[in-house]
Symmetry: C2
Subunit: 344 residues, 2 copies
DNA sequence: AATACTTACGAAAACGTTTGCGTGTTAAAA
DNA sequence: TTTTAACACGCAAACGTTTTCGTAAGTATT
């Protein structure tokens, strides 16, 4: 088993010093052409690759981006990661992904692990538990150590850092507006409990849209779901015999579940009830009927986040603290779960 | 902006040597109780965390597992990652995930990057392109440098290393058998082109099942799909007016697409045609009708792979080369897309 | 022949750890 | 009082790089 080859090995073999080898490999004019060629040939032959760890230590930067997300088995988040990877690779950065599994403790552990030398900066979306506890010491800690953090999607308002978000309220408003514009009057919303920031914002958008149409808020039409894993029963109970003609769901799962339970009761989608979801994932696309939904452009989020982070990392330590919040436009993807717009 | 604190800082502040600090933090009896306490208090106050990079360099191991997968936006692969992360974290390992995007070049780049110091070993499933090119030099190279590699799902038979697979042929045979057992006689298969190893294996399983029932192979019933992104048209053309009563699809997308085009033609599932898919993902679960499918137990694969890799990493360099191939059992998840078994 | 440049290379420090070994101080034993 | 042992700590090397600086030899200039 051939060992990994180092500068030292090459140096010994060629009977020159380590520094000569290093310089030769970088084509330094300090070294004679003859020696340079010899060294390079040897290095190539033995497939020499500089050791990243040693470089990181020396340069005090790792050229890797730490990504912390709440779930790894999740279409939206992986889309974002795709975007991050894309620009990271373009710019010669590595990406380390850790999932917190929505656990506060694991988020802290992962962050500390990555912060102690493994990554130069962070792209993150916080865990549910973190949002509940409102304990952000780990994030503040790493920021105060000079490591930039870019938050996306599930962000923390109180934290001063770069942020990439969509206008959740506006997206929800657009979605609800669409339902209203095709003639829906009695629109239910399937949302999450309030401590999930995006859930709350989307609920606000829904309410705003209603208000603009002079429709009063009716709590009978609002379902806040805590236990996502058992949402089917909750949604079924909620929707049963309810006099509605539209449903806005704050995520994909709620949307298809609604479609499912309504279909089961013989209600036709979209003729009897129109449905709009949030997040343009696999389910929305392939479900029958395919779902009209608000696309969050996850990949773009990832790209922007990575760009922002790398920019920050490479700006020569200007201590000019300046933080940006970029808002990615959502777009409504119209499909079969809503009636066609009448007027056009 | 407080800088990251190092042993040197502590040493200077407390007017002792770096080695004393290091030893004190490890509670070495070489250091007086008094000093130990002072150092530890100080370290705690300033939240000292040893620098991973320096440790990696010193110990010549990173305590990091490199994971390379063909796609990151993919339910099955993320499930596997979930399993890997789980046991890695339990055992104090970090995980770096890179996606090759099914590109050979990117796979090579990622592997070399991780191999040059960032990871101690690999868990990987190779890119489509790699399977086509049959160029495995990068994998062989890293193995010959003493870094263990565990392959899963899309493995390379020619490579001598640990492997975690499912018995694709057997899973496919079980699936086809199930169709046969509920009375299907004319079973089509929707599969991939042959260079995708799992596709080929699953096709073999399908044929074996048919053979056992004395049904001759009929190429009219076999569709090999190259362009996954445009499979709908291909499947639609293939299925149109075909006299079949069962479909076996080698992945989720083919299965739902089949269900979709059949439904559109007014064919009832499962009464007219039963469908069995492969991979138990979101789609199979939530589609209407929900799909009977072969579950690959991705998380378990990930767990086993991580365990195997860590074992290898921690076995004291016994040069006793010994490689294992573990076969994870598949299971058939019966849902609505197949008729109920008659006999019981 | 004396001086001044080139040329081509090596030594050493630095990044942050850990650890074996050496050593000065003090206290105990002879 | 001298020898010995225990104690508490520092030195230095090592991991693999890069880079600044120093310098020996050779070449060119006067």
């Amino acid at each position: 088993m051939r060992q990994k080859i180092t500068l030292k090995h090459i140096a010994k073999e060629l009977d020159v010093s380590v520094s000569t080898v290093s310089k030769a490999l970088k084509d330094s004019i300090e070294i004679s052409l003859d020696t340079r060629q010899k060294v390079k040939a040897f290095a190539k032959l033995y497939n020499y690759k500089p050791n990243n760890i040693a470089l990181s230590l020396k340069n005090r930067k790792t050229k890797t981006l730490g990504v912390i997300i709440p779930e790894i088995v999740h279409h939206f988040f992986t889309t974002v990661i795709g975007g991050v990877e894309k620009v990271a690779n373009e710019k010669g950065y590595n990406v380390i992904i850790c999932s917190s599994n929505n656990s506060f403790d694991k988020e802290v552990i992962n962050m500390e692990m990555l912060a102690s030398g493994s990554a130069d900066g962070f792209i993150m979306s916080v865990a549910k538990e973190t949002q509940q506890k409102k304990d952000y010491h780990h994030i503040q800690e790493t920021m105060s150590q000079g490591m930039p953090v870019v938050m996306f999607d599930r962000i923390i308002d109180e934290l001063v850092c770069d942020k990439i978000i969509i206008d959740d309220a506006k997206g929800a408003q657009t979605a609800t507006n669409h339902l209203l514009s095709i003639g829906c009057k009695k629109i239910a919303i399937l949302t999450t409990v309030d401590y999930i920031s995006v859930g709350k914002l989307r609920t606000n958008g829904y309410l705003r849209a209603l208000m603009a149409y002079d429709i009063p808020q009716n709590d009978e039409y609002i379902l806040k779901i805590e236990d996502v894993d058992n949402c089917e029963k909750e949604i079924s109970d909620f929707l049963k015999n309810k006099d509605i003609d539209g449903v806005f769901a704050v995520n994909e799962l709620f949307a298809v579940t609604a479609a499912k339970v309504l279909s089961k009761e013989g209600i036709n989608i979209p003729n009897d009830v129109s449905i709009v979801g949030f997040t343009d994932g696999i389910l929305s696309k392939h479900f029958i009927p395919s779902l009209t939904t608000v696309s969050q452009h996850g990949e773009e989020m990832g790209e922007r986040a990575a760009k922002l982070l790398i920019e920050k990392l490479e700006s020569e330590d200007t201590t000019t603290e300046e933080y940006r919040t970029v808002i990615i436009d959502t777009s409504l993807v119209e499909r079969e779960s809503t009636k066609k717009t009448r007027k056009k």
